[in-house]
Symmetry: none
Subunit: 150 residues, 2 copies
DNA sequence: TATTATTGTGGGTAGATGTGGGGAGAAATC
DNA sequence: GATTTCTCCCCACATCTACCCACAATAATA
């Protein structure tokens, strides 16, 4: 049973590009994920996504069954996988962030960590603000559709 | 349990055409694949594919079931086999790349290594870029089909 | 408020990793 | 058999990673 991530907090990269993962999020990994491991990937929005490795592995396991004889499958796996990196927290609960990913999300020093159910979002605070402002507001139609599910 | 390959990193062939396989990928072989052995083959896309020897053997096992009486099967098996080479990493974790394969993927010096679940893709970076750009984007239909699986 | 425990931050350093190149022995060629 | 080419071991060394310890900041407890 995975407890859902929730909340938002602000953190800073140190001189060595290490990001400290809040203890409350780390704690949720211990049971299933022996080694405090996340898989970090580029988000569909201009942010980074951190999945508990277990979550990511479950999805990867399914993708593995896609036939490699289909071009589209290969393309999808390639795109999805090349942006994902498996990263382990050090003994102090920090993750060494690759520059390539930081650049994608435009993260310099400040990072907003958002718990979003079964993954974490990592935002450069200014980007997050802009993104939220430029967002088309959720309209009634959206919630009508939601109502079909709930 | 095989951990999935993921991520992308840039490497260079040295003067002796040796390619250093990132330690994180090598490590995933140790358990099952005693000797850091990969089978490298020409990809369906213009890149090289490196399978852990174990994975390749499993695939070969499936091919064995194809009927020899069909001309196309024989052709396929022949092509597949002759393009595959079993290669072991040296003590420093490098693989000596045959020129024939390098030429196929147009690799000169720079190599992008992409972890794609149960195999590695080796790309000449410029080829990769072109290939990704010329790719027909994955459309809604594709994801509709995927949704049937997941 | 004082005390203790937990968490976050900084930085030194040993060991792991990546890269280059010499050279012994194997394999191929003459 | 002699010569050349190739393969792969070894060593060297620069760089990177992740450990460790120290201590500040915060939260939890008495």
């Amino acid at each position: 049973m995975i407890t859902s991530f929730a909340g938002e907090s602000k953190h800073f990269l140190d001189e060595k590009s290490r990001l400290s993962i809040p203890a409350k999020y780390r704690r949720w990994l211990t049971e299933e994920d022996a080694e405090y491991t996340f898989v970090i990937t580029k988000g569909a929005d201009p942010c980074l996504i951190a999945y508990p490795a277990v979550e990511w592995d479950m999805f990867a396991e399914k993708l593995r069954n896609l036939s490699q004889f289909k071009k589209k499958n290969r393309a999808f796996i390639r795109t999805w996988s090349r942006n994902s990196i498996r990263l382990k927290c050090d003994k102090q609960g920090r993750i060494l962030m690759p520059q390539r990913l930081l650049d994608f999300a435009n993260i310099k020093k400040e990072v907003a960590i958002i718990g979003a159910l079964n993954y974490l979002e990592l935002w450069e605070p200014e980007m997050l603000k802009e993104h939220q402002e430029s967002q088309i507001p959720l309209d009634d139609d959206y919630f009508e559709d939601l109502a079909d599910i709930f």
